[in-house]
C-alpha cells in the first residue's frame, strides 16, 4: 500500500492493471483450458475498470498473457476504430505501455468482440475473444448445475433437437451468430457472438484462440489446429452468409459486409466490417481484389 497522507492511496497500478497473483490464477485457468479444448474452466474473475459486458473476460485474458514486447490489436465489430475497441486499446496503452497496431499481420495478440479478422491468422498469434454467455446450452437450460452434467455426459441432444425444430419450423437452422460448434469432437462450445460467417475460420486455425467471459467467470480455448465443426444435418449442411455485391470501398467479395444506411430514401452501401482488411486492400496495388 502506498502512502496515505490524505487518507487516499497513491500507488500506481501494476503492469497491465491486474496484480501478479491474479494473472497467475488466470494463466492457470488458460493452461487448463488449452489442455481440455472447448471445456469451460471456471476462474475467479475480477472486477475491471471497464464494466461487465464491455469485454472484461477478454481484457483479463489479455492482461494475463500480455508481455512488454507484445503488439496488441483490438477490434470490435471487425473494426479498430469503434469506440469500445479504441477504449480497450487505450486501457492497455495506458496500463501496460505495449505497442498497439491496427494491422492483423503485425499483432501478436488480437482481442476481439464479435469478429475474426479476414486476414488469415498465423502460428504464434493469439486471438482473445470477449464472451458474454460462454454456455452454448444456456438458452435451452438456464441452470449451471444441469448444463455441467450435460457437458460431462457429452449429452447434446437438447441442442440437436433445438436445431431440428428450427428446420421443422423455418426450413433451415435459424441461427446467424453465436452458432454452436463441437470442439475436438468432445465439447459443445459457443464461438462467442461472431457471425456464422466466421465459424469456418475456427477450424484448424494455426493461432491459439482464447475465450474469456468475465461476468460468467469462465475461460475456454481452441488450441492451434484443433478440429472445430459447426453443428448441422446431412440434409441441412452448415452455410455462411453471402452478399450479392462486393465491398463498395475495396471491392472485396470474400469478406463480411456491414450495411450502412446512407439516406432516408432507402439508400445503402455495403462495406467490409474488417477495417484493416479493407484499408490494406485499398492502399495495395489496384488489382488487390483477388488473393
Amino acid at each position: 500500500m502506498g502512502a496515505r497522507g490524505n487518507g487516499l492511496p497513491s500507488q500506481p497500478f501494476n503492469f497491465a492493471y491486474l496484480d501478479e497473483q491474479t494473472k497467475k490464477m488466470i494463466r492457470r485457468a488458460i493452461l487448463k483450458a488449452i489442455a481440455v479444448p472447448g471445456h469451460q474452466v471456471p476462474f475467479a474473475s475480477r472486477e475491471m475498470p471497464l464494466p461487465y459486458g464491455w469485454g472484461t473476460g477478454g481484457i483479463q485474458v489479455t492482461a494475463a498473457i500480455l508481455g512488454a514486447d507484445d503488439t496488441l490489436k483490438v477490434i470490435d465489430q471487425g473494426a479498430d476504430d469503434t469506440t469500445n475497441a479504441v477504449n480497450i486499446r487505450r486501457l492497455f496503452a495506458k496500463t501496460a505501455g505495449v505497442r498497439t497496431t491496427t494491422h492483423t499481420v503485425e499483432a501478436t495478440v488480437i482481442q476481439s468482440r464479435h469478429r475474426i479478422p479476414e486476414t488469415p491468422l498465423r502460428e504464434g498469434q493469439i486471438m482473445v475473444f470477449q464472451v458474454p454467455i460462454p454456455e452454448p446450452l444456456r438458452w435451452l437450460e438456464p441452470r449451471e448445475s444441469e448444463t455441467l452434467k450435460l457437458h460431462a455426459l457429452a449429452d447434446y441432444g437438447l441442442m440437436q433437437v433445438h436445431l431440428y425444430e428450427d428446420v421443422a419450423t423455418h426450413g433451415r437452422i435459424a441461427k446467424s451468430y453465436d452458432y454452436p460448434v463441437m470442439v475436438h469432437g468432445r465439447y459443445l462450445a459457443s464461438p462467442s457472438p461472431i457471425p456464422k460467417f466466421d465459424n469456418p475460420k475456427l477450424d484448424r486455425n494455426p493461432a491459439l484462440l482464447l475465450f474469456g467471459a468475465g461476468r460468467e467467470k469462465r475461460i475456454y480455448a481452441i488450441p492451434p489446429y484443433t478440429e472445430v465443426k459447426s453443428l448441422d444435418f446431412e440434409d441441412h449442411p452448415f452455410t455462411v452468409e453471402r452478399w450479392d455485391r462486393p465491398c463498395a470501398l475495396c471491392g472485396a467479395v470474400d469478406s463480411f459486409l456491414d450495411e450502412v444506411i446512407t439516406d432516408d430514401q432507402g439508400g445503402r452501401m455495403f462495406v467490409c466490417s474488417d477495417s484493416d482488411y479493407c484499408e490494406t486492400r485499398r492502399t495495395e496495388v489496384p488489382d488487390a481484389a483477388d488473393d
Binding site: 492511496p9 459486458g53 476504430d81 469506440t83 469500445n84 469478429r115 448445475s145 423455418h170 457471425p195
Partner: protein, 367 residues
Amino acid sequence: MYVAVKGGERAIANAERLVAEERRGDPAVPELSLVQIGEQLTLAVDRVMGEGALYDPALAALAIKQARGDLIEAIFLLRAYRTTLPRLGDAQPMDTAAMLMERRISATFKDVPGGQVLGPTFDYTHRLLDFDLAGTAAQAEPVETAAVDAASMIPRVADLLGREGLIEPPPAARSDDVPDLTQAPLGFPTPRALRLQNLARGDEGFLLALGYSTQRGYGSTHPFAGEIRMGTVSVEYVPPELGFAIEIAEITVTECDMVNQFKGSSETPPQFTRGYGLVFGRSERKAMAMALVDRALRARELGEESGAPAQDEEFVLSHSDNVEASGFVQHLKLPHYVDFQSELTMVREMRAEWERAQSRPSTEAAE
C-alpha cells in the same frame, strides 16, 4: 455518414471532459468536499462500502463524488479498485456480541438484557419535508442518549432462546477454510458461508424485492426480527509471524438475526430457525432483506422448497450483483451491427422464401 457510426479517441476524451464538467455543475457553487460527503451523506457512503465490498469511508466518498451520486456507479468504482489490492490474510471471526452499540432492538421481546436502544433511526420520524433544512440549519441541541455499558458483552437475543433449545444453534465459528467469493467463482450448490458473502455484496434493491416476495407468500419463512444491532466492532488478525491476534480496525456494522418458524422434521424437533444479515455501516434495510433471503435460500436444507424465486439459489446468487447486472444490461449500448447484419441477411432470405411460397399457386387449396 460512414464515420458517424464509429467513435475515435477524441470523442471518448470529449465525453470524459463533459462528464467532468457535468459533475462539477455551476462553478459558482462551492465544490463538494470528500469530508462533506463522508460526514453528511453517511448512508450513501455505507451502501457503497457494503456493496463495493471494501470498508474505506474515504474511498467510498471519493467514488460517490466521482460518480456524481450514482451509487451503483460508485460501487463499481470501489470494486474495480478493491480487486487489485493485495490480500494479506483472513481476519478472525468478528464477535458482534462484543459490539459497542449505537442501536439495538428486538421485535420478539418487550425488553431484553441490554435494553432496547433506538439510536439514530428514521423509524419514528414523521416524513415531513423539513423546510428548515433547506437553509443552513442552526446547530442542533445535544442529544440525550442512553448510557451504553461499553465494557459488557450484551448477549444476542437468539442466544437467549438457544439456552432453551428453542432455536437452532448458530454454525460453529471457524476461521480456517472459509470459502472466498472473490477468489473462486460461484459453483452450485453453495455452502451458506458463500451465499452470505454473495448477499452481503448483493444489490440492496434486488434483495429488498426478494425479501418482500417471501412476505407475500412466495417462499414464506414466517419471520420475526429477533434482533437488529448496529455499532462498532473490532476486527482482529493473527499475523503468522506473531501468532496472536492484534486489532487492525474498528468498523461499523449492522447485524440482523431473523427468527423464523420451523415445523420440524423426522430428525429435528420443532424449533425456530435463523436468517442472518450482516452489512457494513448503517444499512439496516439491506441487513433485514439479506436475513430474509438467507433464510429463504435454506429451504432445500430444511426440506421446505416450494419453487419460489427467493428459494432458488442459482437464480438469486447469479443475479444479485449490481456491478455485473448493470454492466450486462448496459452493454446493449455497444455496437452489435455485425450480429444484426447476420440476422438481417437471414430474415431477408426467409422473407424471400416466404413470398415465393405465397405466390406459388397452391395445388392443395384446389383439392
